[in-house]
Symmetry: C2
Subunit: 205 residues, 2 copies
Amino acid sequence: MSIDISPNPGRSAGRPREFDIDEALDKAITVFSEKGYHGTSISDLRDAMGLTAGSLYKAFKDKHAIFLASFDRYKQVRNALLDEELEKANNGRDGVYRMLAFYAEGAHGEGGRRGCLAVGTAVELAIFDDEAARRVERSMDRFETTFEALIRRGQEDGSINRSINPNATARLLLSVVQGLRVLGKTSPSREQTFSVVDVAMKLLD
Amino acid sequence: MSIDISPNPGRSAGRPREFDIDEALDKAITVFSEKGYHGTSISDLRDAMGLTAGSLYKAFKDKHAIFLASFDRYKQVRNALLDEELEKANNGRDGVYRMLAFYAEGAHGEGGRRGCLAVGTAVELAIFDDEAARRVERSMDRFETTFEALIRRGQEDGSINRSINPNATARLLLSVVQGLRVLGKTSPSREQTFSVVDVAMKLLD
DNA sequence: CATATTTGGAAACGATCATTTCCTAATGGG
DNA sequence: CCCATTAGGAAATGATCGTTTCCAAATATG
């Protein structure tokens, strides 16, 4: 008895795709972030991704699928960067600061004007698009949970006041961070953005 | 020498408009808030406002003009309600709380899911639409200035800690309030929303 | 080498978009 | 009382939307 092993693993029959899906999605992320879902046309995506409409529809079911794939890719990349940053944290308080600073860094200047795809999706699609709403909610939950864990860790290692409410404070920090993304659309200075972070840190004293 | 007084003041020649512009704009505000600018079609507006496309284009130059008029109307109504609420404030701290509570009230439940037109405009249009961006910026500035004035007032009347930075703290409260609007799109409970307000108030101690 | 399968890419599809046109209805001014 | 002016409303406009079709090119399999 023998088991078939395909000689070229992961590659199915037929002409191979000539572009990298993740690279293409990274371009789509920029367009969707800047113009939103309804503001982005297939022509926009075709131009930005350097593909023909035909190729797009070979790789994805429809525009909505391209969007969801872009969202997932965006979260995957951003979460990986955040995790990397949080590994450097010495204690709970330092972790909270690093997380706030990570978001503040993306919320000002060019990146701030481009916008956050999660915030954009929440605002534009969450009401009527259940699949988008579920993704937004999971993203927000993740942030809230991470903030709360860092606060608890800080309360244990002595870097954060033990009398504050971890969940309520985490939720406030989550609000701050989403708010910075809204304010970032009219591009405030780096200084202004980080002054908010500094004030927020006082909640941990 | 005599001065001509038109017998029917404010009414020019021609068939009179059969609908009230502000009432129509209030319907448009709901549609634009829920579906965004690009997600809203003239058909959507026609249906919601109870008008024909022809009448819409008699009253407004184009879709963009309808949107800007809706935005202006939205801000006018909301600002009037906020001013009314702030007149009840006993002191600076009470004023800050009333302002946070005013926004929190609109950010949860049905209104939260519908969304804030200013936040929606910031996220969807601020990059490429200068007229929209100017309006958003003015709206944010107004909120920040109001927060800052209330903080200074509280520092004078003794209800707010004199050592906090009024401008930086005002900007943080502005972030919180915009963030609540983003989180409100996935409709958190009234309790959750107000717990954020309570934590934010600790910054004034 | 032949066949099945998939992609690339241009062209075409019907639907819907924002906007205009055209006609009738209703008003104020001369 | 007529004329200029504006609104109401249905129908038509060209443009663009998202999507599909069709054919040639490129691969894996037998």
